[in-house]
């Protein structure tokens, strides 16, 4: 599996993400600077890391979404290539129009940094096939603007098509106002596009891949991608 991790000025989870691919799949990802106009030949997976690209100027992810490399990422997605955006990467995918909706300021305005419980709502995506349906995962999140919002029609479509991949839940697996940490519409923590090859999520699976990090639940996501690519190949 050939992964390209895009690095923007202000990205800060790019090394963690590279390590997660390496530790879970033995993969050696390429790092691609934002002003490149092409992805390395043979790229299977593009990963957009967390951080504060361009200092979150204008809107989170807004400037990064217009950088030269994102045209190549959009073309990769259009060809059916896999794209995953985590945290700031999710914000960039929404700003670039590769995913619907928007990530707004957390409802209670605070920057949140803690471990949360997620429910796998769709275990049949290329990113989640290694998990059981309805599996509960523990992984950290760290963001000030992760409150996913979209208009009612978009939300209905996401739910109907199984595009809601992860939801914030309590430890028993139930969605509730108190478990919905940032106020996201329908407790949404992660979605895929309508073709299912582009995933955006706020929590950090790359920081939950071994027991030392407090949870290994994120490793399944990277293994799922490897599993998917084996099947494709």
């Amino acid at each position: 599996m050939k992964t390209s991790i895009i690095v923007f000025p202000g990205s800060n989870r790019d090394r963690d993400l590279g390590r997660a691919f390496r530790r879970t799949n033995g993969d050696e990802p390429a790092y691609v600077w934002h002003d490149e106009s092409e992805l390395p030949a043979g790229t299977d997976v593009v990963a957009l890391p967390g951080g504060f690209s361009y200092g979150d100027y204008l809107r989170c992810g807004a400037i990064a979404a217009r950088s030269p490399v994102m045209r190549a990422v959009a073309a990769h997605a259009k060809r059916g290539g896999f794209v995953i955006g985590i945290c700031n990467g999710f914000q960039i995918l929404c700003e670039s129009g590769l995913l619907p909706g928007v990530l707004m300021r957390n409802e209670r305005l605070k920057f949140l940094c803690r471990t949360v419980t997620l429910k796998v709502e769709n275990a049949e995506t290329p990113f989640t096939r290694g998990y059981g349906a309805g599996a509960l995962l523990r992984m950290p999140l760290a963001h000030g603007e992760g409150n996913y919002q979209a208009d009612a029609r978009t939300l209905t479509k996401l739910e109907k098509n199984g595009q809601v991949v992860f939801r914030y839940v309590d430890e028993a697996g139930a969605a509730s106002d108190s478990a919905n940490i940032n106020g996201a519409a329908r407790s949404i923590a992660g979605i895929v596009n309508d073709k299912g090859n582009v995933l955006g999520m706020m929590p950090h699976p790359e920081n939950a891949i071994e027991p030392l990090q407090g949870s290994s639940d994120g490793a399944g996501l990277f293994r799922s991608l490897a599993l998917t690519l084996e099947k494709v190949a």
Binding site: L58, R66, P100, V102, N106, E107, N147, Q149, D151, G183
Partner: protein, 80 residues
């Protein structure tokens, strides 16, 4: 041409920052504030004298970058 672009959240979009400001105004004793919405202003200087052309250029800037039209609307005013 100089233009002032005002970007604001669409009606109905939750604005937690505006809400916090509203709360702060109330705690300062300003009574009767029934809503605060926060927005952004961009002052843009653009070469070219033809107002119609520059206006359509600024509209394109708003659509492509300055506003996220999923949640925001924009307004363009010519300034002298």
């Amino acid at each position: 041409m100089k233009a002032r672009v005002t970007v604001t959240l669409k009606t109905g979009v939750l604005d937690p920052q505006g809400k916090a400001i509203e709360g702060a105004l109330a705690s300062l004793g300003f009574d009767g504030v029934s809503g605060v919405r926060q927005g952004k202003i961009f002052d843009i200087e653009l070469a070219g004298a033809d107002e119609a052309t520059t206006r359509s250029a600024i509209e394109a800037m708003c659509e492509k970058l300055l506003a996220n039209t999923v949640i925001e609307t924009y307004h363009i005013d010519a300034v002298a």
